[in-house]
Amino acid sequence: MTTVKTNSMTPVQAINDGLRTMLQEREEMVVLGEDVGINGGVFRATDGLQESFGEDRVFDTPLSESGIIGTSIGMAMNGMLPVAEIQFFGFIYPAYEQVMTHATRMRYRSMGAFTVPMVIRAPYGAGVRAPEIHSDSMEALFTHMPGIKVVCPSNAYDAKGLLISAIEDPDPVLFLEPLKLYRAYKDEVPEGKYEVEIGKGELLVEGEDVTLIAWGAMVPVIKKAAQLAEEKGITCDVIDLRTLSPIDKDIIAASVQKTNRCVIVHEAQSTGGLGNDIISIVNDTSFLYLKSPIERVTGADVHVPFWALEEHFLPTPERTLHAVQKVMDF
C-alpha cells in the first residue's frame, strides 16, 4: 500500500496547490484575472504561479469583470481550460450577464456543438471587515441559474479536491472561496492530484437529535453550535454541503430521517436563499419524518452592513443554538 504524502496547509494555500497541480497536469489550462499574475492575487491564491508557468499561462487582465468572463468563455469554447478569478464575489455583477447568457447556455443552445469547460473562482462572504460590496454571498443568484454548478469548500482538503474536480468538469463551475476561512486553520492536504466529487456533501459530526446544515464559512459556526448543544445534552448531525448546485439530497434525507429535526444556516439573505431549497428537499424526501418545522438562521433581507455592524448580520453559534433549542422544544 502506498502512502500519500500530505502537507499542512491553509485553505488558500490548498487552492494555490490545486491550481499548481492542474497547471502541471493540463497544458491547455490558464489562470487569468485582475492581479493574479505578478501580485499572486490580492489574497495570494495565485502566488508564485506566474513565476512557475509564465505569463502565457497565468496572466493579469484589464480591470473588467465582463471581459474576464466573456473572454474565458471564448477561450473555453476554443479548446482551453480557463480558470478566471473575480477578485471579490460582490464584483461579479457586471459579469452576471456573460455567465447567464453565454457560459451556461452555450451547450444547450448549440446542442453540444460548443461547450464551456471553465471555472470562475471568487472569494465571498462577510466577517473580515471588508469595505462595502466585498462581503456579499449571492450564491443563490447562481444556484438559481441553469447550466452551471456551484461549489463551496470549507476546508483545505476539500478546497484543493473540489477545485481539481471543477477544472476537470466539462461544464462551467462557480468556485466560491470563503474569505473568512482563507487562513483560519490548516489541514493535511495530499500532494498531487485528487478529486472531491462535485455534488456530494460530507457528514462531519454524527448526532441523534438535530441535523445542522451549512457550507463555506458557516461550517465552523454549526460545528461550534453542535458543541454548545452537546453541553445541553442535544447531539447534532453536522453536514457540510460542499456543493450548492446540485445539492446532495441523499445526505440531507438520510440525516433528517434519523434526527427528525433540521436547522439550516447560511449567511446570505433569507428570501430566495438556498436554505429554502434545502427545505424543499426535506419536504420532498422526508416530510413525514419531521417532528418540528425546519428552522433557518440566515442573514437578514438587507445588504451586508458596513463592517462596524456586520456581526449583527452574520449567523453565530449562539443564534444557531437558539434555533436548535426551538426545534427541540416544538
Binding site: G67, T71, G74, M77, H102, S110, M111
Partner: protein, 370 residues
Amino acid sequence: MHTPIENRNTHQQDITEQFPMKQIIDSEGNLVDDTYRNEINIEDCRKFYRQMLCMRTFDQKAINLQRQGRIGTYPGFNGQEAAQVGSALALREDDWMFPTYRDHAASITFGGSYAIISTWKGRVEGNRPPEGRNIVPPSVPIATQLPLATGAAMASRYRESSQAVIAYFGDGATSEGDFHEGMNFASVFKAPVVFFNQNNRYAISVPVWKQMNSETIAQKAVAYGMPGVRVDGNDIFAVHHETMKALERARNGEGPTLIEAVTWRYGAHTTADDPTKYRDNETENRKNLLNDPLSRLEAFMKSEGYWDAQWAEDFEKDIKSEIDEAVKEMESMPEPDVNDIYDHMFESPTWPIEEQKKAYMEYLKGGSEK
C-alpha cells in the same frame, strides 16, 4: 438633448478625413479605386452577385413565411447583403464566426445551413452548425458576443493556430460595455479578431446620431490602439478586401481590427416592428436604393462585360429551387423532441434535471408525476 450631426464640433470634420469611407466601386458601379483592379475577375463577381441575390431571395422568403404564419418573428437583413456576404467570403474554412441574430447571410455564406431559419420556428436545431464549422449560435443580447470572440481568438493565438475570428454587431452595440471590453482585451492580448460592425444607422428606432456623439464608429478603434476602417458597406469589393486585409493582419499576429461597414436595411428591425413610426421609410429607401449592393455590382459587371442574361436567368432559377428546397426541408422536420429540453444542459445531467425530466415524461404518458 442630442446634437444633430451637422451641428457637431469642427474637429469631427478631421475625423471624417481620417476615416474616409472606402469604396472600390461607387453607387453607379464605376470603379473608383483601382488598387484591386487585378484581383477583380469575372468568377468572383459572379460568385459575389449570385450569393447576394441568393441571400436577398432567402430573406424575402423568410419574411413571407412569417407573414403566412409559418415561422415566428424574423429579423430581416435586406440591404446588408454586401456587408455580410463580402466579409464572410473572406474567411477561411476553419475560422470562427460570432454572428448576431441578423447575420444569416454571413452564416449561410460561411458554410452554414439554411436550417438556421428553423430557429425562427422555435427550433434549437437551427443553432447547430454543420460539422466542422465554427459558427457560434447567434448572439441575442447586444454586444455580449464580442468578449467571447476575443476569447476564442486569444485561444487561437495561445494554441499557435492560424485561425482567425470575426464578430458581427450593429451600431447600437457600440454603446454597450461589452463592445469596449471585447475591444480592449483584444487589443491588449493582440487577439486575431476582426470586429465587423454593420452600421445601418438605426438601433430599432434610435438613429446613430442619438446613439453616440462621435462621427464614426471606426474612430473608436483609436482608443484601443487598433486600426479602424470605414467602408461603404454596400460595396462588396470594399467590404471583402478590407476584411481580407484585417484577417491577414490577425493571422500575422498583428492583432485586431475594427471595420465599420456603413449600410442601410430597407426593412423593419423585425417583422414585429414598424419603421414608419420613426423614419421616413419611403424617402430613405428610395435614396438608399441608389446605393443598392446588388444593382451597383450588376452595373459594374455590365460595364465590364461580365454580365450574361442567360447566366442570370439560370442561377435565379437555381436559387429559387434551392430556397424552396430549404423551406420544404424545414417544414418537413419531425416534431421537436421533448428530450432536447433536458439533454444538453450538462455533459451528464444533474439529478434535479433527471428527476424533472422523468416526472414530466411520466406526466406526458398520463402516469403519476411522482
